[in-house]
């Protein structure tokens, strides 16, 4: 039985190859917050909108096909709708303000040794650790 870390490593390699395809094929960063904003017309600069839409549509398509191939994947969301809404608002605003998220800064920028991306990744990881720790302390889950 393969361990979770093997799936993690393999999935990570696929994510890296997808980002490499974007970089070497289209000359662009596979930054999902930026492409997502661009796809729905919420960003003034970036990839052509059609290109952003095709990349974004590919995400659920690929996830669907992989889930089918695996015979289903189990997902556990926060039960509370308000939690999802608050988190979504903060993620949307924060990723635009900080010009990127886990994909753009974490994968593409860090591998480029961009000082901005390395800094952003360290900050959002630290902030994520702190948020979960604080929620644990306050008894919110």
């Amino acid at each position: 039985m393969p361990e979770a870390w093997m799936f993690g490593l393999l999935g990570g390699l696929m994510i890296g190859c997808a980002s490499a395809l974007m970089l070497l094929g289209l000359g662009r960063i596979a930054g999902i917050s930026g492409l997502g904003a661009r796809a729905v017309g919420l960003a003034d600069a970036g990839a052509p909108q059609s290109l952003a839409i095709f990349f974004i549509v590919g995400l659920p398509l690929g996830a669907f096909l992989m889930a089918r191939a695996l015979g289903g994947v189990s997902l556990h969301f926060p039960p509370n709708i308000a939690t999802l809404i608050i988190a979504g608002l903060v993620v949307g605003f924060g990723t635009r303000l900080g010009s990127g998220c886990t994909s753009g800064h974490g994968v593409c920028g860090m591998s480029r040794f961009s000082r901005r991306s390395i800094s952003a990744t360290l900050v959002f990881m630290a902030s994520g650790f702190a948020t979960v720790a604080l929620m644990r302390l306050l008894g919110i889950s």
Partner: protein
Amino acid sequence: MKQLTFALLAGALFGAGLALSGMSDPAKVRGFLDIFGTWNPTLMFVMGGALIPMGLAWRIQAKLRAPLAAPRFSLPDTTGLDARLIGGAALFGVGWGIAGLCPGPAIADLALAPREAAIFVLAMLAGMLVFKIITSRSTPMEGAKTPGVMGK
């Protein structure tokens, strides 16, 4: 047409990777961020795995004059740290910690858990809209022009 095919393929490969890695599950991501709980290190392997092909890709990119399917490279050339970058990353981390979702898995999950993912994605787009409204009212890129608030 060729460009759109590349974009769709890249997106689909990315989404498939998210589903295979387990990062489409918000609980696993929160498990990684939960250092005082049952820490789940899987995300480190995902990030490590993703950095390998991308590290190679940047080396190849440095030798190319143009990408395979586009006339030129369009890459960020901003350098230096500023308050916008750090503040935005800090906020993003808060939202990431609250729900265990960042933009990629959230959008990919639209196919796997449509109801929950759609609520998050709509809220995320609303947050992006708020950002757009605020920044279009003030001088565009005002924050970026302020010389390194956080120092170089």
